[in-house]
Amino acid sequence: MNLEGYTLQLILKEIENGNLSPEDVNEFYHRRSADLNRVLNAYITLLDPEKSRPEGDLKGIAIAIKDNISTKGVRTTCASKMLENYIPPYDATAVSSLKKHGGSLLGKTNMDEFAMGSSGENSAFGPTRNPLNREYVTGGSSSGSAAAVAADMAPIALGSDTGGSVRAPASFTGIIGFKPSYGAVSRYGLIAYANSLEVIGILGKSVQDVSLLFKMIAGKDPMDSTSVNVELMEKNISKPRILVIKSFVELSADEVKKEFYSSIGKLESAGFEINYADKFSLTDYMLSAYYTIACAEASTNLSRYDGIRYGPKVESAGNWRDYISRARSFFGPEVKARIMMGTFILSAGYYETYYLRALQLRKIIKQEFEKIISGYDAVYVPTMPVLPWRIGNAIEDPKIAYAADVLTVLPNLTGSPAISLPVGKVREFFVGGQFIGLKDEDMKVLKVAEMAENVLQVKKSGRN
């Protein structure tokens, strides 16, 4: 039995028809994962298939979960030495929702440490390798979830998106990556990097797949005070009205730009209404606002890792300060740099200069985005301004990785839903395009993306 290219929906249909059993499906993904993980490094922890078959829509199918989402009794490392042996005593709400729908756990996927990174290289467990070309990065931070789905090591996966962490790797590996509206999915149990920006997202092989899983994990959760109920009814759109922001496209490399514009042509011929805005006036400031807020929140979120309750046990003859500093040396360099930057941003005298200005910018960016999108179903721009780079390049020059976020941070700053899908092909890689909508209108962007997916048919090889 070979399930290469199978979507989750196809698998469920085949189980329904009696052509597949959930045991066979889980066995296939488990064996393939165990096999390919040696070269791709997509999983940090791969679990043995569960014997019992839970009831429910998912029929016991095992799903890959990013290793910053808490799973009861299964170690959750955040790809950090700091949590190498940490076993959560509770399930994240999104995980218990999946279990309630009959889902089970395939394994915990590799990622940039504490979700800080755009390439998948900042992992204490080594970089994830791109199934399209193993010398190249997968994109991050949900690197393992993307690689697992792209390489048929999982039917579908959960990730998290703080500044593009679901969409970037989806784009680099040629799959679908959906970042729901802020608060649409409970963050309870998602190990925080930047609380006000992030949300749990889904990586899958088709828009319908991610839509299916989204509806299972969406909804207000009493444990997450920022969660909301978003509309989950299917939207009916006959002629999508799309807005392309030119200044975003212009930030992209030529080969990305070319494929992206060609996708616009195809959409237009298929009846999409395409409109253009010359620029988004705050384009130049989005990264500054994003990194200021993310580092500030990260520095306080990560202050709890002190080795006292959990995490590395250190030998210290000195006092508690010495103990804590030693334990905290277990963070990797990217994490340390962002914590230190956050500490700087929040220190007296700089709070006003940087943090408050970043919040102010965020507010203005949100207002401008709401203005610019009014009258349209979605904004359409490339997901990543560049194609995947060789593993190691961004370690040499950190600016490469930071700059790669320029097109993905907008929906995190505005709380918008955004979905990336392959819209073009360059050599062995894909070019990703993303549809961005108004906050809480998740079903609308999903519908637009599904229509675009049908028009573009970039990955014809996949079985649907």
């Binding site: 076993i87 005593p89 509770y90 608060g183 006000s196 009493p222 005070s225 920022t226 909301v228 400031y285 500054s288 606002a289 990194y291 200021t292 580092c295 202050s303 080795g307 006292i308 309750r309 959990y310 046990k313 210290s316 000195g318 006092n319 508690w320 300060r321 010495d322 103990y323 804590i324 500093s325 030693r326 905290r328 040396s329 963070f331 360099p333 990217e334 340390k336 740099a337 962002r338 914590i339 230190m340 930057m341 500490t343 700087f344 941003i345 006003e352 200069t353 940087y354 408050l356 200005r357 970043a358 919040l359 102010q360 910018l361 965020r362 507010k363 370690i395 950190p398 600016k399 930071y402």
Partner: protein, 88 residues
């Protein structure tokens, strides 16, 4: 931009090894350059916070979590106490 890696690592309670110092300095430098752009931004007229929207409160009703499960997570335990470092 006026900050020293040394001071920031102390404030953040982070020990930094000789080997990683250069790499971290490079990353901090790159992040710092992004921050500098904010110098040109008009500061907000009055300080404000961007708070999450909505209203959410829970009722004052106890729910017992299995505390033994938490104790299992703890690094060092002595008679249900978490054993921590010296506090002097």
């Amino acid at each position: 931009m006026r900050y020293s890696i040394n001071k920031l690592s102390k404030l953040s309670m982070l020990k930094i090894s000789k080997e990683e110092e250069k790499m971290i300095a490079k990353k901090v430098q790159a992040l710092g350059e992004l921050l500098e752009k904010l110098d040109t931004v008009e500061p907000p007229k009055e300080a404000f916070v961007l708070a999450p929207e909505g209203e959410h409160k829970r009722d004052d009703v106890p729910v017992q979590f299995d505390s033994d499960e938490i104790i299992k997570v703890f690094n060092n335990v002595k008679e249900r106490y978490l054993k921590g470092p010296k506090t002097l």
